[in-house]
Symmetry: C2
Subunit: 465 residues, 2 copies
């Protein structure tokens, strides 16, 4: 088992050499800690220095110096991870890619663009505003594209446009031995050799440092309509989504909120939703197609005992409707003031979604504090946010027990320990249960072949290789 | 460089041990040659024995015996490859998976099913007939699902439903050391660890023997409409597809035929199409949506000087229209009687498609025999079929020169040497040009880590590792 034997003198030598090579290096505690702490309750794990890369060549220089001194490397894009991906668990250096934020090409006729890894998804969409195209994956607005590749991010649009898996055409990455790989050209499909693109998507910075990415773009839809309605149970809501999909309905978004989340959202976002499970829908496309899909859903909603759909057609109405959804995390902070959020997600086959949520809700009822559930129903993916009082560590212990049962339940239902947040390091422990020892050891074989000293984001996915 | 040092005595010992282990083994020349020759002009490369697997456990037994004796293994699904994937270039044994043809689960609510690797796509769709769902990837009807995974197959539906890359949820595979890996559970999306599923999709049998596959299913569309029209040039046809896509049109299929193919198709399929480049369209979905998308295309077709669209709405009319497309290869055999077909494909970004086809057509005009071009325009993918007179080997030489320029042209246009047929072994030579030495060596690193003796389908993708 290879764990990086982080030798402090070697790391200091690496830091010295990085500065001597003309790279911009920061060593203040604040700078280091800021980049070792993400949006989770997980503690900061500071690197020993922050080094800025402004080009792929800079990354090659950094990697070569770090390899020589066996210095661990943790890449930093935006720090919006939800599972501790940027924690420098074994120290070493943090490569800060935020200065690599350029759009290199927009190929409107090909529905793609080439960007540097540090650009945020919001900046990219701002840049694209006049092209009639957009990049649909709506993880956190400040998330970097490189980070989204690394975590295989998705969001509310995944049911319509896919996740990062379907929307990355190629990546340029620097391997630990200094090789620069470009995983594909820009062809929309290819049957040529191994799909290294998909190998990097979701690899959490453990195989190489991603410096450039070509992503797919989609036409801004001609027409968009959104709606919300209440259901007697989550089971009814899930059945509607299954039956609508079987009828050929193409949802642009289909989002679930349970009654706890609805109560907090009503309080925070000044909505007036009934105290029941809700679905938020969005449809997009040519106007008749939108109407037709919406009509099928309205009929099914009636059959499943839902309240009448409240429609929002124009942009202002839609913004109002979705605000409640997008503010959900703020509603949680307001719901239990002074608490820290411990958010996580799992995914199951949609046929098991209602069972998985309901069994989890029963567990949650044993806790002395309320916990809301949100979900991307079309994907079978749902999120919990435990709002933990930092003054009461026993809350963490109680939450952990429910969390653990939920993750194991999802895996047992033929699902996964994470649908979109990634494994980071806290969920390493579930990978054997999800994949089995043989499959996990195949992953380790690949990691060892490409990073034998385990210098690239060590501790993520695997405690040791 | 590791090439299998196929030792005949060892291989004979392996064959003996396979029989002794109770496996069904065939050694007649006919059986061996039949499974070493696919649908191409490439010569047969027979294995030394054919072994039938009826379960994943059988495959483990076979792999363990073969590894012990350093005996190469070539998997056989249906023999419909277009690039020599099943050629036993280094001898050894052929694992015949045709008896592993069961449907293990249909999960209609989850839009997926679990099958053994040897089932054909046509059998699977026959099995699914009453479920309201279908498996959309329409490579050769007799193609096996395992083979389609291995070659990352696609077809006319890829523009709408994606390729095997998007439609495989997990695979079960046996590695050369006998480990049985299952790459994922059935969740529709997952952010957990490395995407081994996509690593197997397109790996050409070089990383493991695929025994089971979970694939995505899609609802049989409510309504389908098809149409055909002629364009002044391929450039006009490509512009239409780009502009319609920018307008949000969702094609179910959009297929190109050049004038040579049209002439041969008119003769063979008794159609009466004008001697011009044509597009064949299909739209699917709820009826209004189909009409709306079709109306946008009709308007754009007028703007681009196309002939009026000839529509085919009911199933019989559509079958008639698509018959001409699906019979294209028979039309080629009839177009140059007595010739062998040398079919190949490339893909470029769609903005370069017209240029790539037109430059290739100019090259083709230098040949003393006509060569038709067909394309999946929405993907930027097109096919050539050189019809070669076996009595005139100089035709092969002349064709090879055009072929070589076409593949290099596609790569230079930021495309790929193959969009859907795969590399097999004939296109190994183009991988350095497409990926660069660093990226190709990363692929070799993975191959070596998982199959250090290069026993799994040796010679495919890489001449040696």
């Amino acid at each position: 088992m290879e764990t990086p034997m982080t030798d402090l003198a070697s790391v200091q030598q690496a830091i010295h050499d990085l500065g001597a090579a003309g790279l911009s290096v920061l060593t203040s505690r604040g700078e280091r800690e800021q980049r070792g702490k993400d949006q989770t309750f997980l503690p900061a794990h500071a690197s020993d220095a922050v080094v800025f890369a402004e080009s792929t060549d800079d990354v090659v220089k950094i990697v070569n110096i770090c390899r020589t001194h066996r210095c661990p490397i943790t890449p930093f894009g935006a720090g919006t991870s939800s599972e501790g991906h940027i924690a420098a668990l074994h120290g070493g250096i943090c490569i800060d890619l935020t200065r690599m934020n350029a759009v290199l090409q927009v190929n409107a006729d090909d529905f793609d663009c080439v960007v540097q890894a540090g650009i945020t998804r919001e900046s990219l969409n701002r840049y694209l505003r006049d092209t009639g195209l957009f990049f649909p994956i709506d993880a956190c607005p400040e998330a970097s594209i490189g980070g989204m590749v690394s975590t295989r991010a998705s969001g509310t649009h995944a049911v319509r446009y896919g996740t990062m898996r379907e929307n990355v055409i190629n990546v340029t990455a620097v391997l630990i031995d200094g090789r620069v790989v470009k995983t594909a050209n820009r062809a929309r499909k290819s049957a040529a050799a191994y799909d290294l693109t998909r190998l990097f998507v979701g690899s959490a910075g453990t195989l190489g440092i991603i410096t450039e990415v070509t992503v797919r773009l989609h036409p801004v839809p001609d027409h968009v309509a959104a709606a919300v309605c209440a259901f007697p149970t989550i089971g009814d809501a899930a059945r509607l989504v299954i039956e609508a999909s079987q009828a050929g309905v193409c949802f642009a978004k289909v989002e679930f909120m349970d009654t706890v989340q609805i109560a907090w959202t009503n309080a925070y976002s000044k909505t007036n939703l009934a105290p029941k499970p809700h679905l938020f829908f969005e449809f997009d496309g040519p106007p008749q197609a939108v109407k037709e899909h919406a009509a099928i859903v309205e009929e099914l909603a009636r059959e499943h005992g839902a309240s009448p759909l409240q429609w929002a057609i124009d942009a202002a109405e839609r913004a109002h409707l979705w605000r409640a959804r997008h503010e959900a995390i703020y509603a949680c902070f307001a719901g239990r003031p002074g608490c820290q959020a411990w958010a996580t997600d799992v995914t199951v086959p949609i046929s098991r979604l209602a069972d998985c949520i309901e069994e989890t809700q029963r567990d949650l009822q044993e806790l002395p504090f309320p916990v809301p559930i949100l979900g991307h129903v079309g994907d079978g993916n749902f999120h919990l946010a435990f709002m933990i009082d930092p003054a009461r560590p026993e809350e963490y212990e109680m939450a952990h027990d429910v969390y653990d049962r939920m993750v194991r339940r999802a895996i047992a239902m033929d699902g996964t320990c994470t649908g979109e947040h990634g494994v980071g390091y806290f969920k390493n422990r579930y990978l054997v249960e999800e994949f089995g020892e043989d499959t996990l050891s195949m992953m380790r074989d690949i990691k060892r072949a490409l990073d034998p000293m385990n210098l690239l984001n060590p501790g993520k996915l695997f405690d040791a290789i």
